[in-house]
Symmetry: C2
Subunit: 489 residues, 2 copies
Amino acid sequence: MSAFEQLMAHARETAALDQIAGRLGWDQETMMPRGAAPQRAEESAAIAGVLHARRTDPQVGDWLAAAEAPDEAGAAQLREIRRSFERTARVPADLARALARTTARAQGVWAEARADEDVAAFLPDLKEVVALRREEGQALAQGGDLYDALLEEYEPATSAAQIAETFDTMRPRLVALRSAVLDRPVPQRLEGQFDESAQMKLSRHLARSFGYDMAHGRVDKAVHPFSSGSGLDVRITTRTNPDDPFNCFYSTIHEVGHAAYEQNIDRAYLLTPLGRGVSMGVHESQSRIYENQLGRSRAFTGWLFGQMRAAFGDFGIADEDAFYATVNTVHRGYIRTEADEVQYNLHIMLRFDLERALMAGDLAVDDLEAAWNDRFAADFGYQVDKPSNGCLQDVHWSVGLFGYFPTYALGNVYAGCLYQALRQAVPGLEADLAQGDTAAATGWLADQVQRHGGLYAPREVIARASGIEPGPEPLLDYLEAKFGALYDL
Amino acid sequence: MSAFEQLMAHARETAALDQIAGRLGWDQETMMPRGAAPQRAEESAAIAGVLHARRTDPQVGDWLAAAEAPDEAGAAQLREIRRSFERTARVPADLARALARTTARAQGVWAEARADEDVAAFLPDLKEVVALRREEGQALAQGGDLYDALLEEYEPATSAAQIAETFDTMRPRLVALRSAVLDRPVPQRLEGQFDESAQMKLSRHLARSFGYDMAHGRVDKAVHPFSSGSGLDVRITTRTNPDDPFNCFYSTIHEVGHAAYEQNIDRAYLLTPLGRGVSMGVHESQSRIYENQLGRSRAFTGWLFGQMRAAFGDFGIADEDAFYATVNTVHRGYIRTEADEVQYNLHIMLRFDLERALMAGDLAVDDLEAAWNDRFAADFGYQVDKPSNGCLQDVHWSVGLFGYFPTYALGNVYAGCLYQALRQAVPGLEADLAQGDTAAATGWLADQVQRHGGLYAPREVIARASGIEPGPEPLLDYLEAKFGALYDL
């Protein structure tokens, strides 16, 4: 075997073990008996140790030095293997272990602090996480920008400066749109109770209608909706709430976007570094365009209204237009994950600026709560009422995910670019969606974006698919048009 | 860290990875999307490769040479680690790979041949499996008995000669009992259809009533009932058939016996070589005593009759005595897994003699079908009607499990010894069981057998618990007494 072939055989086995580690996570959230947690911690640590040893195996370095790519895909495989190997090699084993241990503990401390509304109880752990991640960032950056080095893990080949510029363009138009909308009358709300097993049934129907392949996936209930796995086994979870069926349906559609991306990657890349979504931003572009541009469109919600009437009877909304307004209500609130399309990115900008300051050493952990609250009041126009609605609301920082938040907003930006191109490419889009038929839309996304997996860099895959250099204008134009019409602006 | 501590740390991580591999198997039979099989094959191969590398790591040999056991349990840990390391080291890596590849393929060929009633289609693969396992047996035996070397994998410290002697004692009394019973009138059968979700509900109730800990386990449906996992996460499966609720209930109770063994092992041995059942024979002793001596007893079936009447209404059986006879019907049949308590061991003896002859080279694979059919006619008094009722009925040989079958009968023998002691130790046993209360019985088994895990050798743990050298007499006495009374002999 050539060095390239040996390297690929090693990478395939690593990818297979990585899939196993992911499935342990899925099992933990869905099927695991509640008393099994301590044993699962040992199991997860054991497989993480195996993966780390494989990823830092010096033989990988030797193979990389000798390997010659046979073609474009082979070159991309080498690029991804080299990137992962060099990153892992730069982080001292002691630091990697300290990060794993500290973040595992900090997540539990965060959950308790959040339940108790007690920021102070979380600060010692957060300080440790921030210090370790800064140390890791310095090791990774090798003299370059620390935050960029962390961002690279989630969104390769994008800089914090680029993101900041994008956000500067977005903020004034989003704020203006939000202000205009909030001056208008509030749409109707859903009324009544929605049977949870009927929600799950319709949820599975929605998943299939969006092209989710049940032969290579399954839908279960979990506390948090998520998608997990790549290739031939990509599972999603959703949740139900008797008062709020939209939470169930749009969680499902969102996760189906992630899952379809993984399911539709070229089978030639199965269990290789190219056989998974190329970045969190591109991943989020798929989940968001499924959920929002398609799932919350006037056409599709018209169809969904009929499905819901059939499943639940009358729920207080008279017609499709009123239903469309209800689905797209812009509302005051504190929680990012519950935010509407207009305000979601404002939440991300807040976190981006705060975590950049934390990583740069410009903001002390002790001052985080005050900084958050001041910023929230400035951005949203009202005061945070309690920490669980403020700086304790997200799990990310407790797990050390600094550099992750901006990928959510990048996903929205990418989705805006893709949607603009999609409307050009599929002229019958509205008519299809009004029938609950997403085949042409999801087929275009599968062909233009999803099948490439890790072949192209994130911005490149979006640029190729949308035909433009990725930027926020298409998203902003779309939001202004949609909410302008909806709220009669 | 001392050599002993380093060795134990390594063993714990290996045990954790082994649990992960087992859980992949569980997932495959219960939850996995049907299109995921090719990817799962890669995942299973990857983790098997990791486990094999760890088990043959030369460092384990160095640690073993230097390690000193701190206590009795430590000595037993070293004994188990040494046994596993020496066995693995004796099998050349090429042979291990050939066995894995060939048995994976042969299992599929067997399943097709069985569906087609085509023995000839299976023979080429079976020849290969037999040849490879003989080669492995020779490598393991190092001049000793080949069959004993294979048996050692499933039932350490027991010889084929010992088993043959036990079987020689059993055969005449079992044959005599069977003949007498089959001359008597046949008990009533169940009538009607039994709702499958009600079967699952009662099945879970039975599992709990036998002490299965749902905080560390779960019950799902699968094609084949099985128990999987050790320690804090031990899951079982069962199956349902609308015509035959006994299949569901007694499969559940059987698997609960296996699972309770794994759940009740001393927590100090969690994720170590002692933290799992010591042998297949001892494992089967637990599943069989739960299923038969307890679950099919007059007292317990009296309680079950009431439960079934409550769940299903009238099903054609008038009273507890008639129900007891129905549960314990001795019937003509071909299939080992469906055999009654009287005839089950006769099936095992047939397989034991045939596979010993195959391994010794005294029986050619080409002659297996004729040998099976002749032997079956001699042992059971009627002719095999088709290969799926004959030599193709069991999966074991296709997977290379030579040496495994006798452990089923040893399990029955051990269960007989334990039950004799249990009746002495728990005088109120019948009264308890008549209330569906197994706590005293299962508590005694947990304390006397299960908690020890791998601490003692198989025959030793049975001898300690039952107070006698394990032998078939208690089982035979129990069967003669039970079926003598049942069938008015």
